[in-house]
């Protein structure tokens, strides 16, 4: 069963989630809960649909079957205004950062505030500086996104994601391609912001150590299903072949090293057709 043993309704609740791309089932009956105030990690190999899951929670995609509820509301059933109201309570950190390239760091963070609040500019300025202070980039506010390193861009995107004080923040592969120092900064930030601002965080990642270090509860996805779940300690003790291959980074196991192909001998000696 999911982490939270208390009786409170989880912030995000997915039941029997089915999503396909063409004939391929990305999710084939996924159940998961994200408890309020926790850092929940979704792990799995590349292509296991982790990003798709975030898009389903954010209502950018609709499931083919099953349900995703956020704060008790069925996301796919919400009309556009309702969905937009819900999204104002969510922040999402895209893998690329997805900063607006024609706006400065300051204006990027100010963007959601200006779009949604109509606050006077001095107040917007104070809010933006506080958010940038939280990610340590108050001094970089005049820079343009092209002048930022990858790690800085992600921190700016994080400041923008929390600009409207969301309830839920979703991180899409926050550690990918970062140097160890930046990774450490991001790991600490995600945990600290979650606890200090009373957020709920969903971290989608395949960086095992970093993610396990900050997660309260972990789901491991593969082949369209949740194949393991539990606290990081429970997973570390797991004897499942699958979990072991993933956590210990073994090249071969339930996830085969080879892409499906005919036998090597057949390919080499009986072939001659095609390439």
């Amino acid at each position: 069963m999911p982490a939270d043993s208390s009786t409170t309704e989880p912030l995000v609740k997915a039941r029997g989630l089915v999503f396909r791309r063409g004939d391929r089932a990305i999710f084939d009956g996924v159940d998961l809960d994200v408890s309020a105030g926790r850092v929940t990690a979704i792990m799995g190999p590349s292509g296991s649909g982790k990003t798709t899951l975030l898009r389903l929670i954010g209502g950018q995609l609709r499931p083919h079957a099953g349900s995703v509820r956020v704060e008790g509301q069925e996301v796919a059933a919400l009309p556009r205004p309702g969905l937009y109201r819900l999204r104002r309570r969510m922040g999402m950190l895209f893998q690329s950062g997805a900063l607006f390239t024609d706006l400065s760091v300051f204006d990027n963070v100010a963007f959601p505030i200006r779009e949604h609040t109509g606050l006077p500019e001095p107040l917007v300025r104070d809010l933006v500086l506080l958010k940038l202070q939280a990610v340590g980039l108050r001094g970089a506010r005049h820079l343009m996104p092209a002048e930022l390193s990858g790690g800085m861009a992600r921190r700016v995107a994080l400041a923008r994601a929390i600009a409207l004080d969301p309830v839920l923040v979703m991180y899409d592969e926050p550690f990918t391609g970062q140097d160890p120092i930046t990774m450490g900064v991001l790991v600490t930030l995600i945990r600290r912001l979650n606890d200090l601002l009373g957020l709920t965080s969903i971290v989608v990642s395949h960086d095992v150590h970093e993610t396990m270090a900050i997660a309260d509860y972990v789901y491991v996805l593969a082949d369209g299903r949740v194949i393991a779940e539990g606290t990081p300690d429970e997973l570390r003790d797991s004897s499942s072949e699958w979990v072991r291959q993933f956590l210990d980074a073994r090249p071969d196991g339930p996830v085969p090293f080879h892409y499906p192909a005919p036998a090597l001998e057949a390919d080499l000696f009986d072939g001659g057709e095609g390439r």
């Binding site: 954010g58 950018q60 937009y84 109201r85 999204r87 104002r88 969510m90 922040g91 999402m92 895209f94 893998q95 690329s96 997805a98 900063l99 607006f100 390239t101 963007f111 959601p112 779009e115 949604h116 995107a157 923008r160 409207l164």
Partner: protein
């Protein structure tokens, strides 16, 4: 043979689907116009980007087009002893046809391609997605102001094109060839009708602005989110917009000047 028919059918279906999505997009853009008009600053920024920044290419091209018209018009008319009518020829050619059409073609190449590439890249770099996740509708925030700006800019640029073109014709006919300036202007004035020529030409440019903006934004919004996809979308945007402008020009001319 069956394969050929199947491939043809598939292409037709894909084309129709694309057209359907384009129509849905333009309806949504039109619905977003009132909301976008409430934020004039965004529209003004885009009018600057697609309109004002296109002025140089419009002014230079129209000057040369007008000068060529003046020369060619003179060479043809002088054989009939009607060299004084060169002003009429220059003005009617520009106001009825070349002004709206060449402006729209230049606009598609200069501003339309940049709109497609900009929107396509915003999509490829997830900027549009992130905007959606911030509960900001990209159609309203990004596409609608650009659409309105195209719609405003093309007719104004076409007016500039025609005016500068006439000046170019004047420079050649009067300044270089030595046709009487009074005859140049008075023949033009008596032959060009505000309603039949200038208004119809203006209506054409309004339609072209609508179509050029629509196609450019549709191609960018539908672009495959890869560098190759954005480059293909940009090319297709310019090609489709140019063909649509030329095709519509024939249709409008047939309807207007019967």
């Amino acid at each position: 043979m069956t394969d050929l028919v199947a491939a043809l059918g598939q292409r037709t279906l894909l084309g129709l689907q694309g057209l359907g999505r384009a129509v849905v997009l333009v309806l949504r853009l039109l619905a977003a116009v009132p909301a976008a008009l409430r934020r004039p600053r965004l529209i003004i920024e885009q009018v600057y980007a697609v309109g004002v920044l296109s002025m140089v290419i419009i002014v230079v091209s129209s000057l040369f087009v007008g000068m060529v018209l003046g020369l060619q018009g003179y060479y043809t008319l002088v054989d009939f002893g009607a060299a004084e009518s060169v002003g009429t020829l220059v003005a009617l050619s520009l106001v009825r046809e070349l002004g709206p059409v060449v402006t729209a073609l230049l606009f598609a190449g200069r501003a339309g391609s940049s709109l497609t590439a900009e929107v396509g890249l915003m999509k490829a770099t997830e900027q549009l997605s992130s905007m959606e996740m911030m509960a900001v509708d990209p159609e309203r925030r990004i596409l609608a102001p650009r659409f309105i700006a195209s719609f405003i800019s093309v007719p104004l640029l076409a007016v500039v094109f025609s005016a500068v073109g006439v000046l170019g014709g004047y420079l050649v006919a009067v300044g270089m060839i030595g046709i009487d300036a009074g005859a140049f202007w008075s023949n033009m004035q008596s032959a060009v009708s505000v309603r039949d020529d200038i208004l119809n030409g203006f209506i054409k440019s309004v339609v072209f602005g609508f179509v050029a903006g629509w196609i450019a934004l549709h191609k960018g919004y539908e672009a495959e989110p890869t560098s190759q996809g954005v480059s293909r979308a940009t090319t297709m945007g310019v090609v489709h917009a140019s063909l649509a402008v030329l095709g519509l020009d024939f249709l409008l001319t047939a309807l207007m000047f019967d």
